[in-house]
């Protein structure tokens, strides 16, 4: 779950990381009022959960409250990469001398958190890693011990930070580590962390991504979820314990198990079709889950055919077939369907579906080809 910049910076602030004075506005007049209260120049920043806000014109500098209102009006009317701007952050403008990067994230390969600093702040860290990896300093953190003081100095040294900033940098690094740990973040980053003309460190922009699996112990963070972040159907699917991701093709897919669901999408593509979605209904494939999955798949107007691919293990294929037949009494499906069952009692399962006048396939390759042909006809 991604947090907005203003949410991330509010959390950072609780960990004694200095952030600019500022407030969130949902209307241009609010933005004007905040700018007036702050006095002087302000930055109007769109709050949407995508990168590249600046390039899209979603971050603008205003010299006075009147200009703040005008720019907020423009920005609040924008769509950035398909996401409508509903809020802007109005921040006091900082006098920026140097921009650096500081972030902590999970390093899968090392199986430890890694803290990274870079002298090239203000740009995407992945871009820096590609173009000038020598500008990134890294320390791996023992998850049982936490960040050590010397590691923050190693980072400061690694990015040629002036000595007089080391102490403040160390405090910010500790705050960021603690915020990452306490919030069960997958990512906590300050980009840029600036050195101001007054030689102070200031977290001008911030980003946090929270581990969805840890939200059970963070009800306060769970409430911050912005449903604009994901497609409505994905939210709907989650309610039923289904894992769904919309794609652009015509062949709707319903599969039990994530790996098999990916393999099903891949084989459709391999034979020249395009999958409309990823959908994992989980292990059992009960009739209520099948019904919910069908409703979600068929809500996509691009879907011309539905391919169901189920491996029956402990839940046998005949039980799965009965579940599908029951679900079809509840959900009326106009689109043709191709069902492929394999595993325990597959023969019995196929017979039940054939009796219900459904198209069945013995192999995944055969099912994919039948679905592609049906999509081309439809």
């Amino acid at each position: 779950m991604k947090l907005h910049e203003y949410q991330s910076k509010q959390i950072f602030s609780k960990y004694s990381i200095p952030i600019p004075s500022g407030q969130v506005a949902a209307t241009a007049s609010e933005a004007k009022q905040i700018a007036a209260e702050l006095g002087g120049r302000v930055v109007i920043k769109s709050q949407v959960l995508v990168g590249g806000r600046g390039k899209a014109g979603g971050i603008r500098l205003a010299k006075n409250p009147q200009e703040a209102q005008e720019l907020a009006t423009q920005i609040l009317a924008m769509d950035i990469k398909g996401l409508p701007v509903r809020k802007v952050l109005v921040d006091e403008a900082a006098s920026i001398e140097t921009e650096i990067y500081l972030g902590v994230t999970n390093d899968r390969a090392a199986r430890k958190p890694v803290m990274m600093a870079s002298s090239a702040g203000g740009v995407d860290i992945e871009e820096v890693a590609r173009t000038s990896p020598e500008k990134i300093a890294r320390v791996h953190i023992d998850p049982l011990l936490g960040l050590r003081d010397y590691q923050t100095r190693d980072l400061a040294y690694g990015i040629d930070l002036p000595r007089e900033q080391w102490r403040a940098f160390g405090q910010i690094a500790h705050g960021l580590w603690q915020a990452y740990k306490d919030c069960d973040a997958n990512l906590a980053e300050i980009n840029p962390l600036v050195i101001t003309a007054e030689k102070h460190l200031l977290a001008v922009d911030g980003k946090m991504v929270i581990d969805d699996n840890a939200l059970f112990r963070h009800p306060d963070l769970a409430e911050m979820r912005d449903l604009d972040e994901e497609a409505g159907a994905e939210t709907e699917a989650r309610k039923y314990g289904l894992s769904f991701i919309k794609l652009d093709g015509q062949i709707g897919c319903m599969v039990n198990g994530a790996g098999l669901a990916m393999a099903t999408m891949d084989i459709i593509k391999l034979f020249g079709g395009e999958p409309a979605n990823f959908l994992d209904i989980g292990g059992g494939a009960s009739s209520d889950k099948v019904a919910a999955a069908l409703r979600i798949i068929l809500a996509d107007p691009n879907v011309k055919v539905v391919l169901i691919n189920i491996f029956g293990g402990i839940t046998r294929c005949d039980e799965v077939a009965r579940g599908i037949v029951t679900a079809l009494q509840e959900v009326k499906v106009q689109a043709p369907m191709v069902v492929r069952l394999v595993g325990t009692n597959a023969e019995e399962g196929r017979q039940i579906l054939a009796n219900a006048r459904m198209v069945t396939a013995d192999t995944l390759a055969g099912a994919a080809q039948q679905a592609i042909q049906a999509a081309q006809r439809g």
């Binding site: 899968r108 049982l144 790996g259 098999l260 990916m262 393999a263 391999l270 292990g283």
Partner: protein, 287 residues
């Protein structure tokens, strides 16, 4: 023969009185697995499955009483890390965690602690292990595989079952099937299993089933080139997965251009691994 689990495995089930734990305990016992004990804090002294299996309050008591030498965890995600720590501290050398949805930072602490203790974790978010004819530890259906010479290691669940079933249909059996799980941080990697299969005299060929996310398949390719003499056949799921989206498994995500299926396939093919275009081709590549 086999790796990790066999007929000498004395299995403890953590969370044995829960719905999932009890159901799968019965399946494992029916398969012939030597399930010696279960734990359920507060229910010590009870028995399950018609008095066949004793329940203990703690792993320590269970180990003392029964000599359990492996554990399988069916405890909900919020309690599972503690269950794993408990088994490790009780000296259990092999811990298999089926539970899905454990927070990543918990797993980093678990993994680093277990490495210090010298305990092996398989999973989490995995179907467990099956040594056909000897032991089933976890939730892999017992009737979809026969004993044989193919070692199977996979990040997936049903996709693995599919492959085991296809092997059985052409008369190929498995030495052991290991589901290492779909989480970004897990206990046992492809390399660990490849090394064990290489050392197991009864495994002649290996099937590796990977997916998008991380770089474990690339590391496996390096290991295969450097240290494997047995042929490996692979399949990688997720070629059509959009970047930045988690495809069901917490670990199945292409991030910042890393974890792409195409890169994994390229790395494996470069070291002579035959990569199936779809799962139904795997059995053919082994014959």
């Amino acid at each position: 023969m086999s790796i990790l689990v066999d007929k000498n495995t004395r299995l403890l089930v953590q969370g044995i009185t829960g719905n999932e734990g009890l159901f799968h305990t019965e399946q494992m016992v029916d398969y012939g697995t030597n399930v010696v004990a279960g734990t359920s804090p507060g229910k010590g002294g009870e028995w399950v499955l018609d008095g066949k299996i004793p329940v203990f309050d703690s792993v320590k008591f269970a180990v003392e009483a029964t000599g359990a030498n492996a554990s399988v965890v069916f405890v909900p995600a919020r309690f599972a890390p503690d269950a794993i720590f408990e088994s490790a501290d009780a000296g259990i050398p092999l811990i298999v965690c089926i539970t899905e949805g454990i927070p990543v930072q918990d797993m980093m602490r678990v993994r680093n602690y277990l490495d210090q203790r010298g305990a092996r974790l398989v999973g989490p978010n995995c179907p467990g292990l099956l040594t056909p004819g000897e032991a089933k530890v976890g939730i892999i259906p017992g009737n979809i595989a026969i004993p044989g010479i193919v070692g199977v290691v996979s990040r997936s669940g049903t996709l693995t079952y599919e492959v085991l079933y296809a092997l059985m249909e052409v008369g190929l059996g498995a030495s052991t099937c290991v589901g290492i799980g779909g989480d970004p941080i897990n206990g046992t990697s492809f390399i660990d299993c490849l090394g064990m299969f290489e050392a197991d005299p009864h495994t002649e060929k290996v099937v590796l089933i990977g997916e998008i996310g991380g770089t474990d398949e690339e590391k496996a390719a390096e290991f295969i080139a450097d240290q494997m003499t047995k042929p490996v056949v692979a399949f990688i799921a997720g070629q059509t997965a959009p970047p930045g989206k988690r495809m069901g498994h917490a670990g199945a995500i292409v991030e910042g251009g890393s974890g792409l299926a195409a890169d994994k396939i390229k790395a494996l093919e470069a070291v002579g691994v035959r990569v199936a275009r779809h799962p139904e081709e795997i059995a053919g590549l082994l014959l």
